[in-house]
């Protein structure tokens, strides 16, 4: 078994119009920029995929990565906790113009809903958001004298994640806080594709150090020197490049 995928274009080739796509990362850390840009390339070339529902903690920053995905018009709906950033202009304009739907979810609930999707738990109760606008319409139940809100799992057709090392069986490690939502999204998607800085031979990752076991990963593509959103934004980058 070899889950290696040759390039980012091949890695995202299966994403179709209207799919639900989880994209890892918290701000720029752990964001799979090259996979997102490969998806944009496909859209520029073919007009697809479009009408995507994207699940990410944020809503993009500047004009690269997730922001660029929104800017070119591929995203119909965003499920996130914090659609603000240093430069949130792309999402803000799309949202205020009514061009993109927003489902706002508290960050811990977002993480837990994704884990639940991966773990076969269709619903769970949390104290988070009880008594607030974000609990509106959701069932409430009292356990041991305290009120809790029922939340549902989140699943996806695809997850695009960024990891550090990966082997051809799909075992992954992450780099510091770039871990964040990535391991959860690997669990919750029918197809998970991970971009990794280096593909190593099975056994090179210590079995104790595997964060995402290969069972949760369907494709691994090597991007040796991945771009970092913060660095791109400080350089004023745009994707696709305007000059093209």
């Amino acid at each position: 078994m070899d889950k290696t995928v040759t390039d980012p274009a091949a890695a995202v080739a299966g994403i179709a119009d209207g799919m639900v796509v989880m994209i890892g990362g918290f701000g720029g850390s752990g964001a799979p920029i090259e996979l997102i840009h490969a998806l944009i390339d496909r859209f520029i070339a073919t007009g697809h995929p479009k009408g995507l529902t994207v699940i990410n903690n944020n809503a993009g920053n500047g004009h690269v990565g997730l922001a660029a995905l929104i800017e070119v018009g591929m995203v119909a709906k965003l499920i996130c906790s914090f659609p603000r950033s240093a430069d949130p202009v792309v999402f803000t304009e799309a949202y205020l113009a009514g061009k993109i739907e927003l489902e706002l979810v508290p960050q811990g609930t977002l993480a837990e809903r994704i884990r639940a999707g991966g773990a076969g738990i269709p619903a769970f109760y949390t104290p988070t958001s009880f008594g607030t606008d974000l609990a509106r319409g959701k069932p409430v139940e009292v356990f041991e004298g305290r009120s809790y809100v029922q939340e549902r799992w989140l699943k996806a057709d695809y997850a695009l994640v960024k990891a550090h090392l990966g082997d051809r069986l799909g075992n992954l490690t992450y780099r510091m806080a770039a871990r964040n939502f990535n391991p959860l999204m690997c669990m919750a998607a029918a197809v998970t594709v991970a971009q990794v800085s280096r593909i190593v031979a099975p056994g090179e990752i210590d079995p104790e150090a595997v964060i995402t076991p290969g069972i949760f990963v369907q494709g691994v593509v090597q991007i040796a020197n991945p771009a970092q959103e913060e660095t791109l934004n400080r350089a004023g980058a745009r994707y696709p490049e305007v000059a093209k």
Partner: protein, 221 residues
């Protein structure tokens, strides 16, 4: 004339594809791992937190921190991963396993399985079976076709406490390979020397035939 446990395990192993993620129940199903056809490598999961473990170590080389769900010593190999019990059952319950192969006291034509309790006497023990039957994409059973007393184990309805409802889709018995489809036992293979009538006589629910019934041929093992 019937298959030995080893032969049943061999037959079950023929249906496991290359790269499949597989959980094998304690006891007889564990033997399936030994009979993977050449060129195929399944990846074995054990509930206690190992994916991609290897064969048993030589006697005397056991490490008791490296065991399977049956508490037997196993080994690591390139690509093994360790994880805790909640992650392990996320793999199970979340539908990430391709196949689970379990033992059975009784299987019903509805796909119901009873394999954890022989009734109110004695000490009940369930382990991971109830999670596996509702988690794996395909749940199969390996079992003698009849009890030690010659009574059918394949029934219209289970009489013992259930492990899961409508979960089993294929039975590898000592006499036949039977699928469960639409609430019926559908006969796929039977021992060459065994008539359909003879097989039906030791089966507690109607056996249906759809298309050809192949000969169940396994090597001497």
């Amino acid at each position: 004339m019937r298959l030995t446990p080893t032969q049943m395990a061999w037959r079950a192993a023929q249906d496991i594809t290359d790269g499949a993620y597989v959980n094998l129940g304690i006891g007889l199903p564990e033997m399936v791992a030994k009979f993977q056809p050449p060129g195929r490598k399944a990846i074995f999961h054990t509930e206690n937190g190992i994916l991609g473990f290897g064969e048993a170590p030589e006697a005397g080389l056991e490490d008791w921190d490296l065991i399977n769900a049956g508490k037997k010593a196993v080994t690591i190999k390139p690509g093994t991963a360790f994880f805790h019990h909640a992650d392990s059952f996320a793999m199970v319950r979340g539908g990430h396993l391709d196949v689970a192969i379990l033992g059975a006291y009784e299987v019903a034509e509805t796909g119901d399985l009873a394999n954890w309790s022989t009734g109110p006497k004695g000490v009940p023990a369930v382990g991971g079976a109830m999670d596996l039957v509702h988690g794996a994409k395909r749940v199969a059973v390996i079992t003698d076709h009849v009890t030690k007393d010659g009574q059918p184990k394949l029934l219209r309805r289970c009489t013992l406490p259930l492990t899961g409802v409508g979960c089993v889709t294929r039975v590898y018995s000592s006499l036949a390979v039977i699928d469960i489809e639409g609430g019926q036992f559908v006969l796929r293979e039977k021992l060459p020397g065994l008539s359909l009538d003879a097989l039906q006589a030791v089966t507690g629910a109607a056996l249906h035939v759809q298309g050809a019934v192949a000969d169940l041929i396994v090597p001497e093992l």
